[in-house]
C-alpha cells in the first residue's frame, strides 16, 4: 500500500520538479522512490498477510505484493533505460509523471478488492498510456497509435463497465469477496445476466492482454508507439492485467468457471494461432514482438484456464510474467538501440548485429531464446510451469496446440538470431550503446539466465 502511495507522490513530485526547474533530479528521485516502494513492499510482505485499507477497497496481500514487486522492478529498469529517451524530450516531467501514474494504476490492479478500484485501476493505467502512445507529437504513426488505443480501449472499458453493471445487478455488490460469496451461496440460482457480465469482463480483459479476437489494437499500437512506451505496455501493463485477471477469474469467478473456461480455451487457441502465424510473416521486429506478446498472453491465459482444477498456478503466472518481462525489456531495449543508431525496426536492421555489437547481439539472442522458451532461460521455466498446470486439465488439445504453435514461435524468434549472427550487415559501424541501456540489458539478461538456471530462487522468494 505504501508503495502505491509513494508512487503517486512521485508522480506529483515529478511535476513539481518541472515547476521548480530541477529536471535533473527527477530520475534519481524516481529511482529512489521506486526502491523505496520496493522496500515498503518488502516490509509489508513480512509483517502481515493481508492488510485492508479503505473498507476493503484495496488489499495488498502476498500475490498482490509479488505482482507489484515485478511491476516495480520492471519499471525501475525501464526508467534507467528510458533516461536518454526522455532527455530528448521537452516534456520530461510530464512523461515521468504519466508513467508513474500509469504505474499507480498497475499497482491498483494488483491489489484491488472491489470493482470500483478495479475499474479505476484500469483507467488510471490506460489513460496515461493513451497519451504516451501518442506522445511523438509530430509522428502521425504515433498519433494514430494513441488514437486507436484510445478508441479501442474506451470501447473495451465500456464493455468492462457493462459487465460490472450486470454483475452488480445480480449480486448487489461491487466487492470481490461478496461476489464470490454470492456465487457460493446461490449455486444454481444465479441470474443469467450475471454470466453475461462475467463474459463481458473476460472479454474486456482479453482486450487488455490482447488476446484474439480482441487483439487487433495491439500490433498497430505497439508499432506506432515510441519503442520504450511499447516496452512499458508489453511488460507492466500486461503483468498488471494478469494480476487483475488472476484475482478476478481465479478467485472471484472461479466458481462460475464452467461458463467461461471453454470460451477462454477457444480464445487461447485462437490467439495462439493468429499470433504465431502472423508473427511468422512479419518483417518488422517490433510488430513481431507485438504478435509474440499476444502469444505469451495466450500462454498466461492458459494458467488462468488451468486454475480451474489446480491451485498452484499463481507461481506459474508470476514466473511467466517475470520471464516475459525480462525478455521483453531486453528485446525492446535492443530495438530501441538499433533504431536510435540509424536502423529501422525491421529484421534487416538486425543483420550482422553480432559484428556490430557482440554484447547486444548476445543478450538479444538470450532474450529471444528465453521468449522462445528454450532452457536454461527463464522463458523455458515459464512454459514449463504452464505445461505443468495445463496437463491436469481436460484441455489437452490446447496443450498440443500450444506446443505446435510455439514451434512456429521458435521460427520467428530464431529469425532474429539468424539475422544477427548469420546475415551480413549493410553498414559495419559499431553500435553505440548508452551506459544506462547497457546496464539494463545486462541486468535483465543476467536475471533471465539466473532464474532460468535457479528457478527455485524465485519460487522461494514468492512463497505463498
Amino acid at each position: 500500500m505504501k508503495g502505491l502511495l509513494i508512487i503517486s507522490a512521485l508522480g506529483l513530485l515529478a511535476m513539481l520538479a518541472e515547476i521548480f526547474k530541477v529536471k535533473k533530479i527527477i530520475l534519481p528521485l524516481t529511482l529512489l522512490g521506486i526502491i523505496g516502494a520496493l522496500i515498503a513492499n518488502y516490509f509489508e510482505w513480512n509483517t502481515t498477510m493481508s492488510i485492508s485499507y479503505f473498507d476493503n477497497m484495496i488489499v495488498f496481500d502476498r500475490p498482490a505484493l509479488a505482482f507489484s514487486g515485478i511491476i516495480l522492478c520492471t519499471a525501475f529498469f525501464w526508467f534507467i533505460m528510458a533516461n536518454d529517451y526522455f532527455h530528448e524530450d521537452t516534456n520530461v516531467a510530464d512523461h515521468y509523471s504519466l508513467v508513474l501514474f500509469a504505474l499507480v494504476g498497475a499497482l491498483m490492479l494488483t491489489a484491488f478488492k472491489n470493482m470500483t478500484t478495479l475499474f479505476l485501476g484500469v483507467e488510471i493505467m490506460s489513460i496515461p498510456l493513451y497519451v504516451l502512445a501518442a506522445s511523438k507529437k509530430g509522428d502521425i504513426k504515433s498519433n494514430e497509435a494513441g488514437f486507436k488505443y484510445l478508441i479501442m480501449g474506451s470501447f473495451a472499458s465500456a464493455v468492462l463497465l457493462f459487465g460490472i453493471a450486470l454483475i452488480y445487478g445480480a449480486t448487489g455488490s461491487f466487492d470481490i469477496a461478496a461476489i464470490s460469496n454470492y456465487l457460493a451461496a446461490n449455486e444454481g440460482n444465479i441470474p443469467k445476466f450475471f454470466h453475461v457480465g462475467v463474459i463481458f469482463m473476460l472479454i474486456a480483459f482479453c482486450f487488455k492482454v490482447s488476446a484474439a479476437p480482441f487483439h487487433f489494437w495491439a500490433p498497430d499500437v505497439y508499432e506506432g508507439s515510441p519503442t520504450l512506451i511499447t516496452a512499458l505496455m508489453s511488460t507492466v501493463v500486461k503483468t498488471a492485467a494478469f494480476a487483475a485477471i488472476f484475482k478476478l477469474f481465479m478467485l472471484a469467478f472461479a466458481l462460475s468457471s464452467p461458463v467461461w473456461s471453454s470460451i477462454l480455451a477457444m480464445i487461447i487457441a485462437l490467439s495462439l494461432i493468429i499470433s504465431n502465424f502472423t508473427a511468422a510473416t512479419q518483417t518488422s521486429v517490433k510488430r513481431m514482438l507485438a504478435y509474440s506478446s499476444i502469444s505469451h498472453a495466450a500462454f498466461m491465459l492458459m494458467v488462468v484456464l488451468a486454475n480451474v482444477r489446480n491451485n498452484s498456478s499463481l507461481d506459474a503466472l508470476i514466473y511467466y510474467s517475470l520471464a516475459y518481462c525480462g525478455g521483453s525489456i531486453i528485446a525492446f531495449a535492443t530495438l530501441h538501440v538499433i533504431s536510435s543508431n540509424g536502423g529501422d525496426e525491421s529484421f534487416t536492421a538486425f543483420n550482422g548485429l553480432s559484428k556490430r555489437s557482440p554484447l547486444l547481439a548476445f543478450f538479444m539472442a538470450l532474450a529471444m531464446l528465453s521468449l522462445a522458451g528454450i532452457p536454461v532461460t527463464a522463458g523455458f521455466f515459464g512454459k514449463y510451469f504452464v505445461f505443468t498446470n495445463m496437463i491436469g486439465t481436460p484441455y489437452k488439445w490446447l496443450l498440443i496446440m500450444a506446443v505446435l504453435t510455439s514451434g512456429v514461435g521458435v521460427y520467428y524468434y530464431m529469425k532474429v538470431i539468424i539475422a544477427m549472427y548469420f546475415k551480413s550487415a549493410d553498414n559495419e559501424t559499431a553500435v553505440e550503446i548508452k551506459m544506462p541501456i547497457k546496464f539494463t540489458i545486462i541486468i535483465a539478461g543476467i536475471v533471465t539466465l539466473l532464474i532460468g538456471i535457479v528457478p527455485g530462487m524465485i519460487a522461494q522468494l514468492f512463497k505463498f
Binding site: 508522480g11 485499507y53 477497497m57 499507480v104 479505476l120 501518442a134 506522445s135
Partner: protein, 147 residues
C-alpha cells in the same frame, strides 16, 4: 440520430437530447442527484467540450465522406447480431419489479455523500490521480512543440 447524422454538430445536439432522456430515467428511479450531475457533466461539460473542438477545427461541415456502404452494412449486421445475441442471452431473466423496496432515499445527496466519503474514500482519492493524469496528458499533447 447521434450515430447517423452527417453533421457532427447535429450529432452533438442529438446526444444532448439523449442525455436528457437518460436523466429523466434517473429521476424516475429516484436518483435525483445523479440526474442533476448527469446533466451538468455530460450535457454541460463534455458536450460543450465536443462542440468546442468541432468549432475549433471547423468541422461542422458535412465534410465526412461516407464510409463504404459495405463496411456500414457489416457494422450494421454486426450490431444487429450483437443485439440479437444479447437479447437472447438476457432473456428469460425473472421479471423483477424495480420497486420491491418501495421508496428509498438512496439517491439523495446526503446519502450518496456518506457512501462516497466512507466506503468509497479510496477510489475517490484515486480518481484525482486519474483526472490529474488526464490533465497532464491533455496538456502535454495540446502543447505546441517548442523547436
Amino acid at each position: 440520430m447521434v450515430v447517423f447524422s452527417r453533421n457532427p454538430v447535429n450529432s452533438v445536439l442529438y446526444l444532448v437530447l439523449t442525455f436528457f432522456c437518460i436523466a429523466g430515467h434517473y429521476l424516475i428511479m429516484n436518483a435525483q442527484f445523479l440526474a442533476v450531475v448527469h446533466i451538468a457533466v455530460y450535457a454541460g461539460a463534455i458536450m460543450v467540450l465536443f462542440l468546442f473542438v468541432i468549432m475549433l477545427m471547423n468541422l461542422n461541415q458535412e465534410s465526412e465522406p461516407q464510409k463504404s456502404p459495405l463496411l456500414k452494412l457489416i457494422a450494421g449486421v454486426a450490431g444487429g447480431l450483437f443485439l440479437f445475441v444479447m437479447v437472447g442471452a438476457l432473456k428469460g431473466t425473472e421479471q423483477i419489479n424495480l420497486t420491491q423496496y418501495g421508496h428509498s432515499d438512496i439517491g439523495l445527496v446526503s446519502n450518496l455523500g456518506k457512501v462516497l466519503f466512507k466506503e468509497f474514500l479510496f477510489p475517490f482519492e484515486i480518481v484525482s490521480v486519474l483526472l490529474l493524469s488526464a490533465l497532464v496528458g491533455a496538456i502535454m499533447l495540446g502543447k505546441k512543440e517548442i523547436k
